[in-house]
């Protein structure tokens, strides 16, 4: 596959250097094209897209209240449908806080109604815009300002893919920035399908995860290779694994991120255990519902 050349997102946006979330949007818009309307709740992207008078996304953006992404997107789509404008894609673009936490209710509502939108969660595994507080997407063992050492996050990351899967929607996929063609293909597929589509993007964040800004792609890749983040799709109920993890040593992934500096041994073990269990479950699902 060739990555579309056209750049819709503009340069000089306000993300930090090495921001995975900025790269994710750039790739997503390459796949979706200019006929896209984006809904952005409170999150880093509120800032990345520029302050008053700016719009670095390069497509129409509606900034909205934190908990409302999926519902506002559904409303936009409803009017487009009434106007007969079937060729416009509506995309909700929220962080993990806006998706796993405060926006989960609206997300569930739109998924259950099968509203014809693409809902994207760019997941940087904490509330970054407010300065790195834990979310329910923060992995076990990670340090944030609300889970300071020695009481680091003590519960596993919520499995959102499977929560959305429980709504029986046409398309669900995970992606991350180190695999741009995979990511773009998934957006193209999502665009081609009617109904509720959900894409979960792991987005490394240098200041939030505490790693040098040139390591974003490496970390994104390690997340997949270690099995921390599984690349798979659920299309019309059918599971497909896109990349089998190599199960590289997890420590390699943890040790280059300052947020795991104070992770106690038991929690490292718990993480390893969780990776194994999720993978085993996914294998069973792929086998029986593939």
């Amino acid at each position: 596959m060739i990555i579309p050349k056209e750049e819709i997102m503009k340069s000089n946006h306000l993300a930090c250097p090495g921001c995975g979330a900025a790269l994710a949007m750039r790739l997503a818009l390459k796949a979706l094209g200019k006929k896209t309307i984006v809904v952005i709740p409170a999150c880093c992207w509120t800032i990345i897209n520029g302050t008053w008078g700016n719009n670095f996304a390069g497509v129409p953006v509606f900034h909205t209240a934190f908990a409302t992404t999926a519902a506002v997107a559904a409303g936009i789509k409803a009017t487009l449908e009434m106007q007969g404008k079937d060729d416009i894609t509506v995309m909700g673009w929220a962080g993990d806080g806006g998706t796993f936490d405060i926006g989960l209710q609206a997300l569930s509502g739109a998924a259950e109604r099968n509203d014809d939108i693409i809902y994207v969660c760019y997941d940087n595994e904490a509330y970054m815009n407010t300065g790195i507080q834990r979310s329910s997407a923060t992995p076990i063992g990670a340090e944030t300002t609300t889970t300071p050492s020695p009481i680091v996050k003590d519960r596993p990351k919520k499995d959102l893919m499977e929560i959305v899967a429980a709504h029986d929607v046409p398309y669900i996929a995970s992606a991350t920035v180190a695999y741009p063609t995979d990511l773009i293909k998934k957006f193209q597929k999502a665009k081609s399908k009617k109904g509720f589509k959900f894409i979960h993007i792991l987005s490394p964040c240098p200041p939030g995860h505490k790693f040098p800004e040139d390591k974003t792609i490496e970390i994104s890749k390690l997340a997949v290779e270690t099995g921390v983040f599984l690349l798979y799709e659920i299309e019309d109920g059918k599971y497909r694994i896109n990349k089998k993890p190599k199960f590289k040593d997890l420590d390699e992934y943890l040790d280059i991120q300052g947020r795991f500096r104070n992770t106690p041994k038991e929690q490292r073990e718990a993480l390893k255990e969780a990776i194994k269990r999720r993978w085993e479950k996914l294998l069973v699902k792929a086998e029986h519902f593939g």
Binding site: L14, A15, C16, P17, I47, T51, P206, P207, P212, E213
Partner: protein, 178 residues
């Protein structure tokens, strides 16, 4: 009353420098007010903090536009900074060849990047120059004692205070007027 502006980029420790400076003057018996300015800050974007110092309670609750003195952690910001006439500008800089001198402002320079790295503060990409610059400021202004600075660093910084004190000492010794 005296108003001091601290200007740098995210990651250089501007906010911490302001807070340390406020605490130093407070320890010297002044009334102080520390006002960080908050915006859409990201790593690398401009970051400002302000300190007001007076002999009586400080009641101003609005931002400072043109301080009496500025401490500039990153000289690329200099063209956008305001300063009162007759003011003092302390710059983190090794090279003064590009500096446009003015008879309305007194310039002082210190190579805080080098000093910070010598003292293992920050990374080569972003040296943590805040504590060194306050050492230089102490010399330039002379209205608080270096001893007070040391005490405040010890109280506020903890384990790595000695490195910051060392950086401040080096900057104190090497700051010069341009």
């Amino acid at each position: 009353m005296k108003e001091i502006g601290l200007h740098g980029r995210g990651g250089q420790g501007v906010v911490m420098a302001g807070e340390l400076l406020a605490n130093i003057y407070f320890k010297e018996g002044y009334e102080v007010q520390f006002m960080p300015s908050y915006g859409a800050e990201r790593r690398g974007s401009p970051s400002n903090a302000y300190v007001r110092i007076d002999n009586k309670r400080i009641l101003y609750r609005y931002s400072i536009k043109a301080p009496d003195e500025i401490i500039v952690l990153n000289v690329t910001l200099l063209p956008n900074l305001l300063l009162k006439e007759g003011g003092i500008a302390l710059l983190n800089s090794a090279d003064t060849s590009n500096l446009k001198k003015s008879d309305k402002v007194k310039f002082f320079v210190v190579d805080a990047n080098r000093i910070a790295l010598e003292c293992k503060l920050g990374t080569p990409a972003i040296p943590l120059v805040n504590t060194a610059l306050l050492g230089a400021y102490c010399k330039v202004r002379g209205d608080f004692s270096f001893d007070t600075l040391k005490k405040v660093y010890e109280e506020k910084i903890g384990k790595r205070a000695y490195l910051n004190i060392e950086a401040a000492e080096k900057a104190y010794e090497s700051v010069r007027e341009v």
